[in-house]
């Protein structure tokens, strides 16, 4: 093995060598720089591999071959090697990226870069506090120089401010070093720790000053204005290095120094870190400058790791896994983002739209955002899971809440940014980027995936990147260049095959959900044949969602469940984002979903008492005092997905603005994830009380009110897809209500809704989407009279609304029949009344849907349109056939589930003999109903045809119109504000309280961010004052503890 000291000597030596080269050899000088950085990286890598695979033990290197205090001690363990590698690699890639700038500036700039990287490595490797001071000073000087590489004329100011603040920091640090030496008689960290120097005389204060100096290098809020200005003004490739390498080095320095100070200081550091994490994320909300935003995000991430460093004792054995996971994810992603920002000409967030036409860069952007947010399968995801569990194990509930809040805020502004890049502003001309820079960015993105794999292996859970479903979905990233129809076929075949293979392993409940997800998903994909071209990005997103769903229903442990949940959330977010106008709605969706997901994570962690590998079945034995809280957290998480009232505001926009064949996926299928979760929750935890309140009773109320208000809001929509979207809120309310009844038939009814809602909502979204494609509008009052032009779409909607309204003989009636039988044994009667009211309201919007689109007056501009596109009609006809079949023989699907549910409840099931289904209270014979109704209908129709067979078809305006004649189709088509009197009666229920509430929450955060950001005045003296003030306040707080 090459000694670790050569990481430093290579950097230093190459920097000297550059000085010897002729000024004109700029290209060669750059090669020398790259070679040196590559060598440093190689040395670090060889150590990482040795530690990982060869069982290499930690080594100490002593300069001059003698032990401290006469020599300097460097130490190399797994952490040091990995972090040095991170530093060297980001240096190498930045140097490659900076080629033009470095060659223009000449060998001095390259030498400074090498010194910077060497200094960061030195900070990581050294065990000597004076040596630490030296490396910090080296890094300060070199950073100050590198800031000037930028073309931005604010860079000079930023560099100068940095030097001012650094002098303050250096003074603190030097004082600390001197007095610690005075107290402990040595400069070696281990010896000082052993001698408890921080506890002797002035040692305490000295240690504090040293600690503050290294903490300050981690840029804590609010003593970090200087860093923000650097991020904003410096060359992005330097900012990449500054964020990834300098941050890493500073954090490791804190970790090293902290051991000297005894138990007082870790909580202080944790407090500083977590405060920075939350505060920087709040401040990030109002940023509009991309690099400054990245600066805030950097500060937040480093703050989080700082927090973990401070919580080292709490997180215990997982410390390196957690801190390392967050840190490397941050380093890779932040460096990648800064490199990306170098490709974007303007600094406002929407300027990132230039990446839109470049799939590789977009993939990289998505990867970096996912890395930062901590989505699966990246290291931050595993790390956050362990962190939350470790904290929960020690009952640190407040810390969990803070961390999750900060993470949600960060996800908000990052996802918003991603949405801007994809959707805001006009499509720009495709821009040619330098291959070298793109390669650097792509390397980082692939590195992120590689790290995801490594962390998956280290996690002790099943590695997500070994999951067949996920791999299949990710395969579509590779296939994305193929034509859409090829990918569509692969997707349909893959999902069907997956179902066929997995089929024997499912229990009846899983089978119902799996059929809907896999076979149902494949059915909706049939509509995808309509799309021409390559349809970039669609298949990876959709398949990611399906993979998540498929993983969800077979999850055995809370980890698997949560990972699947996040996967399906991410996939569906990308899918929703594809709609033309869907950008704000997709954001709203992902923020609510991640909020819900965090509630799930907290709930799972609380349930398991912090055990990170915990069987879902274990939820049935949760300790009594934790159980109600677990129930509430999980229920809230799941209800976010089913869009229960209050948590519903994301749904209408997200479903209505999605693409034609995406709406059925996210409505018909995705919502079922929430119901599956609720099933799981109630099957394991059952009835749970909180302060004497029965929580399932509360769920019943929520379900009933969702059903009522969802239906009521649907009545007043003018946009057909929004109408369907609101109706889903109502339908999910019904299902939730059924589940919360906690009796056999209630659950069966919920399952009936699961099946029915998938079929008719998918069908209706497709029909309405097909109509919208032809008419160019989703507003119903602008349509009308389309029945003769689009008969198949009409039939689909007709069957759909009959089924949905519950009118016999179609399958919706089965749902209602089971409902009535279920409420016969329900314990609570009042919420049932609300369901009674909401039932007939469905008729209102359903009639409106079919009437204003297909009946009434045809508009002049629509006279030449034709039936919806063939491939959009095909799945609708499949659904029509299924609905008719399911209406006659519901038992095929339901009786097995009925038997399955019997294990959870005593009695109350149905008996399925012959054609009649019997409950303890009543009976129902679907076949008889169908035959009787059909026979009566046929006889009467024959009778009418006999009488009226010569009826003459008249023109549109040939109607009885008392003493006048109709004017125009627009004025004759009664469609707009169809239920005006109803609004008078019920309008008071429609005030958007939920929207106001969430707007208020969002407004409050933005207001705080907007006010607080003025704290950073841009004045170097003020920043120096901040630094001193920060140190003082921390001291006072620490003394008070």
């Amino acid at each position: 093995m090459v000694s670790a000291i050569h990481i430093l000597s290579t950097g230093l030596g190459a920097a000297f060598l550059l000085g010897l080269l002729p000024e004109a050899w700029r290209g060669r000088a750059h090669l020398v720089t790259l070679a040196a950085l590559a060598l440093m990286s190689a040395i670090a890598l060889s150590w990482v591999l040795a530690f990982a695979f060869d069982g290499q033990q930690m080594v100490d290197v002593f300069t001059a071959g003698v032990s401290p205090p006469f020599a300097i001690n460097l130490r190399l363990g797994m952490a040091e090697a990995a972090l040095s590698l991170t530093v060297c690699l980001s240096g190498l890639l930045s140097a490659l990226y900076l080629k033009t700038s470095l060659i223009t500036q000449g060998r001095r700039a390259m030498a400074v870069l090498l010194i910077a990287v060497m200094a960061f490595c030195g900070i990581i490797l050294t065990r000597d506090i004076f040596n630490l001071f030296v490396f910090v000073e080296l890094s300060v000087v070199s950073v100050g120089g590198l800031v000037l590489l930028s073309d931005d004329n604010r860079a000079l100011g930023a560099g100068f401010k940095y030097l001012i603040v650094s002098q303050v920091v250096s003074i603190l640090m030097l004082l600390g070093v001197i007095f610690l030496y005075h107290a402990g008689g040595t400069l070696n960290i281990d010896t000082l720790t052993a001698a408890n120097a921080a506890g002797i005389g002035t040692g305490g204060l000295a240690f504090f000053l040293l600690l503050m100096a290294v903490v300050a290098e981690a840029k804590p809020v609010p003593a970090n204005g200087w860093a923000l200005d650097i991020y904003q003004a410096a060359h992005p490739a330097f900012s990449a290095l500054f964020s990834a390498a300098a941050g890493t080095a500073a954090l490791f320095a804190v970790d090293k120094v902290l051991v000297m100070g005894g138990p007082t200081w870790p909580p202080v550091v944790a407090g500083i870190g977590l405060f920075s994490f939350v505060a920087a994320n709040v401040l990030g909300l109002s940023q509009t400058h991309d690099r400054r935003l990245l600066g805030y995000s950097s500060i937040a991430q480093i703050g989080l790791v700082l927090g973990v460093v401070g919580l080292k004792d709490v997180v215990g054995e997982h410390y390196l896994f957690i801190a390392g996971g967050i840190l490397v994810a941050h380093a890779v992603a932040k460096a990648g983002m800064f490199w990306l920002s170098g490709l974007v000409a303007e600094r406002k967030l929407s300027a990132w739209a230039v990446l839109r036409k470049n799939p590789i860069l977009l993939f990289a952007f998505a990867t970096f955002v996912a890395l930062l947010v901590g989505l699966p399968p990246f290291p931050g995801f595993y790390a956050k899971w362990e962190l939350i569990h470790a904290l929960m194990a020690q009952d640190r509930v407040v810390l969990v809440a803070l961390i999750l809040l900060g993470a949600l805020l960060e996800a908000t502004y990052l996802m918003r940014w991603f949405g801007y890049a994809l959707k805001r502003g006009a499509d720009l001309e495709s821009v040619q980027f330098e291959v070298r820079k793109v390669a650097v960015v792509l390397t980082a993105a692939l590195g992120g995936w590689g790290l995801g794999y490594v962390w998956g292996e280290l996690s002790g859970h099943a590695n997500l990147l070994h999951s067949m479903a996920l791999l299949f979905a990710l395969g579509f990233v590779v296939l994305d260049g193929l034509p859409a129809w090829v990918k569509n076929t692969v997707a349909i075949a893959g999902m069907s095959a997956f179902f066929y293979v997995s089929y024997p392993g499912y229990d009846p409940l899983q089978l119902i959900f799996a059929s809907i997800i896999l076979l149902g998903g494949a059915a909706i994909f049939v509509a995808g044949y309509h799309e021409r071209g390559r349809r970039l990005g669609f298949y990876p997103s959709a398949m990611l969602m399906y993979a998540g769903l498929a993983m969800l229903i077979v999850a055995d442990t809370t980890f698997q469940f949560f990972a699947a949940w996040e996967v399906l959330t991410v996939g569906s977010y990308f899918l929703i984002l594809r709609g033309k106008e869907s950008e704000p709605h997709a954001l709203s969706y992902i923020v609510f979903s991640l909020g819900g997901a965090f509630a799930l994570m907290a709930g799972f962690a609380l349930a398991s008492g912090g055990v990170s590998e915990f069987a879902i079945q274990g939820l049935s034995d949760v300790a009594a005092e934790a159980a109600p809280w677990v129930f509430v957290l999980l229920a809230v998480g799941f209800m976010t997905k089913t869009a229960a009232i209050g948590l519903h505001i994301w749904l209408p926009g997200a479903h209505a603005e999605a693409e034609t064949d995406v709406s059925p996926m996210v409505s018909g299928i995705l919502l079922k994830a929430g119901l599956f979760g609720l099933f799981t929750l109630l099957m394991t935890m059952g009835k749970t009380q909180m302060y004497g309140v029965e929580l399932t009773h509360v769920l019943m109320w929520i379900g009933a009110i969702s059903a009522l208000l969802g239906n009521l809001m649907a009545v007043f929509q003018e946009d057909a897809k929004r109408l369907l979207a609101y109706s889903s809120i109502g339908q999910m309310g019904y299902a939730l209500f059924g589940l919360a009844m906690m009796n056999h038939l209630g659950w069966l009814m919920a399952l009936m809704f699961v099946i029915n809602h998938y079929v008719y909502k998918s069908m209706l979204f497709l029909s309405v989407g097909g109509v919208a494609k032809r008419t160019g509008t989703k507003l119903m009052y602008r349509m009308g009279g389309l029945i003769t032009l689009m008969p198949l779409s009409f039939v689909a909607v007709l069957i759909g609304i009959i089924a949905m309204s519950g009118v016999p003989p179609l399958s919706g009636f089965g749902g209602r029949w089971i409902f009535y039988n279920a409420i016969m044994t329900a314990e609570y009667k009042l919420p049932i009344l609300i369901i009674f009211l909401s039932g007939p309201i469905a008729f209102l919007y359903l009639f409106r849907l079919i009437h204003t689109i297909f009946l009434g007056q045809l508009k002049d501009e629509h006279r030449r349109i034709t039936e919806a596109p063939f491939w959009i009609v095909v799945p609708q006809m499949l659904f029509v056939a299924f609905l008719l079949g399911f209406a006659v023989v519901p038992g095929l699907a339901l009786r097995h589930v009925d038997a399955y549910i019997a294990q959870f409840f005593v009695g109350g099931g149905l008996s399925w003999d012959g054609l009649t289904i019997t409950s303890p209270f009543g009976y129902w014979s679907p076949v008889s109903i169908m035959i009787v109704t059909g026979a009566i209908f046929a006889v009467l129709l024959a009778w009418l045809v006999f009488l009226n067979h010569k009826a003459q078809k008249v023109k549109q305006f040939n109607i009885v119109f008392a003493a006048e004649r109709p004017h125009r189709p627009e004025t004759t088509h009664f469609a707009w504000n169809f239920y005006a009197p109803y609004r008078k009666a019920f309008g008071f229920l429609l005030k958007p309280y939920a929207t106001w509430f969430w707007d208020g929450v969002a407004g409050a955060f933005h207001g705080v961010a907007e006010t607080a950001r003025r704290f950073y005045t841009g004045d170097g003296q003020v920043y120096a004052f901040h630094m001193l003030g920060f140190v003082l306040v921390v001291y006072l707080i620490a003394m008070g503890m």
Partner: protein, 301 residues
């Protein structure tokens, strides 16, 4: 369940009796209403004549496929509703096709005809039809609520959803009728009954003054005849349900005729006394007056 073909002619017999009685009853009630208003009114056979006339008309037009099917849906709804409920208690030949489903089937089948009819009227493209439907649907959401709660109360009271069992439970004495065992629920249900009978104060759906006859505006000749047939059958089918649930059912035809007549008369009586509500007024009326009574009836059980 073994199906016997003899059920079909038996059911047709029930249908015929109800149809003929319904036409007669409609005219009689009409006449009573007119007399209350100091008018002469129509002769009792007027409905038969109208029906024959309409079936005989030869001028027929159509506005399209759904328009054609509308009356078929409507009448199927009426006939189906009648046949899914046992008409005469204890008489096998008038149990009709009640083996197909229980009370819930009847409750939901009510909507079958309305929905089909509304769709057919919609295709005519006449705005009055659409306005009528909009009003009718708005009103029915609130009007159905007290009834639905009352039905729930009755089902809980007798612990069954089978109409036959509910009637059976009321036999023995007049005081076993639900109207005496749970008067609150029955009161609420009767309020709903008013809302569904197309008479004042709840006849804004047809609103002859502003939107001449509402949804059926465009219908004529055999279409209208089908709808008239339905207007004879459907109210009686509905009253059969009320009679069975709340008033002890009927064990023979004379009792049946009497009970149905009295129920019909009740709606007519209220109708001649009160003026018409606007839609939002009737919605509020059902929610403010009907629902609390129904809820009280529910907790009575």
């Amino acid at each position: 369940m073994d199906f016997e073909w003899i059920r079909i002619p038996h059911a047709l017999l029930t249908l015929l009796i109800v149809f003929l009685y319904g036409l007669l009853l409609g005219a009689v009630i009409q006449k009573i209403g007119a007399r209350a208003g100091r008018r002469h009114g129509i002769p009792f056979y007027q409905n038969y004549i109208d029906l024959i006339k309409n079936y005989a008309l030869r001028t027929t037009i159509t506005h399209g496929f759904m328009f054609y099917l509308g009356p078929v849906f409507r009448l199927t709804g009426g006939v189906g509703l009648l046949l899914f409920v046992p008409t005469i208690y204890g008489v096998a030949m008038h149990e009709n096709f009640s083996f197909a489903g229980d009370l819930i089937l009847a409750l939901y089948f009510v909507f079958f005809g309305s929905l089909g009819m509304a769709l057919g009227a919609g295709e005519s493209g006449h705005p009055y039809a659409a306005i009528g439907v909009s009003r009718g649907l708005s009103q029915v959401t609130a009007a159905e609520l007290p009834f639905a709660i009352a039905v729930f109360a009755v089902a809980l009271q007798y612990q069954t959803l089978s109409v036959t069992d509910i009637v059976a439970a009321q036999q023995g004495s007049v005081f076993n009728w639900t109207v005496f065992t749970n008067p609150l629920a029955v009161t609420a249900a009767m309020m709903s009954f008013l809302g569904s009978m197309m008479r004042p104060p709840f006849d804004v759906v047809l609103a002859p003054q502003e939107i001449p006859i509402g949804p059926p505006t465009e219908y004529h000749s055999a279409y209208l005849a089908l709808m008239q047939s339905n207007r004879a059958i459907f109210p009686i089918a509905k009253m059969v349900i009320y009679m069975n649930l709340f008033f002890g059912g009927a064990a023979n035809w004379p009792v049946f005729f009497l009970k149905v007549f009295l129920l019909y008369l009740f709606a007519a009586f209220v109708g001649v006394v009160f003026p018409r509500f606007r839609v939002e007024q009737s919605v509020r009326w059902f929610l403010v007056w009907g629902v609390p009574v129904a809820v009280a009836g529910l907790f009575w059980v």
